[in-house]
Symmetry: C2
Subunit: 161 residues, 2 copies
DNA sequence: GTGAATTGTTATATAGCATTACAATCCGCG
DNA sequence: CGCGGATTGTAATGCTATATAACAATTCAC
């Protein structure tokens, strides 16, 4: 069933400013600006994956499993920043869609290793291409040097010890 | 009751990288970098409001009501990017804590106007100070010009038509 | 005036998590 | 060895934030 959107106001979850409204001192907080930018990024992701059954978190999981074949579910949870139970749900989802498989790990009877299937690999390649294209479009408001600068600043802000 | 944290791995919701893990092409996506930066911002907010009953969304609501006295709940919802029902819950929360009041609006028997109480104003001032201090600390990895640059780039990325 | 739209409200559902508990398994150390 | 503690996957449960839908009261457009 389709749920036609109300005519007035942005749709829920949108990041658009409300014209004529004051935002007080919010823009003074770096965290607020980052939050708005991140939501805009989510919207770009949504548009990139319009008819595809995926979410940012699951896409992250898919990418990480691809880059680390045999990853345990505990480590996947750590990588995603969620509890083990959350990683389990993602792993179930990957397996149910035929994108990944669990194989017993040699030398450890507790842990399973996660491996992408062929289907998972081509699915990831497809989604990656779409997301990249949208990303480019999303970042288009900045010049190429500005984009590089933004990436560097974000990286420096978060990933520097 | 206190829930002591497990010794191993970052706590759920954390943004720390897992050493020795490959993140594949994720860092090529601007959206992923923004997401990580935003989560780091949330962590800074949490630390800033450790013993205070507030959340980023509620802080945003508080700020917006402060900057727009008499705001309707519909408009608050639009500003927060949530449905009306969500704005209602925030308004209920504000009222229950004595931070805001609803007053009938002249000329419109349907809408209520939201107004901060004196208590709400000083509460906001207190939280704002704490968040600002933490924000400064959070942004410390960047030099002052870099911080200004980051703000400009984020603003340009999201708020430019 | 009359029908459509808006507002606040309530009830309900859902997604995404965390938390807890448990069995199986591994590890360190006497 | 053997034993206690840690780790792994898993299932059960619950919480929080949010959307969706429905409703009455009210306003608005024509």
């Amino acid at each position: 069933m389709r749920h036609p959107r109300k005519a007035r106001g942005p749709r829920p979850g949108s990041i658009e400013r409300v014209p004529g409204l004051s935002y007080g001192d919010l823009d003074a907080h770096l965290g607020y600006l980052l939050r708005r930018a991140q939501l805009a990024g989510f919207e770009a992701f949504e548009r990139a994956t319009e008819r595809i059954d995926i979410s940012p978190a699951r896409y992250t999981a898919l990418s990480i499993v691809a880059a680390n074949p045999g990853l345990s579910q505990s480590d996947l949870g750590a990588a995603l920043g969620t509890a083990r139970s959350g990683a389990m749900m993602v792993a179930d989802w990957l397996e149910a869609r035929g994108l990944a498989e669990r194989h017993r790990r040699e030398g450890d009877g507790r842990a399973w290793g996660l491996y992408l299937t062929q289907r998972g690999k081509s699915f990831l390649a497809d989604v990656k291409r779409r997301v990249r294209d949208r990303d480019r479009q999303f970042a288009e408001r900045l010049s190429a040097p500005e984009q590089a600068q933004l990436r560097n600043l974000l990286y420096k802000l978060v990933d520097r010890p």
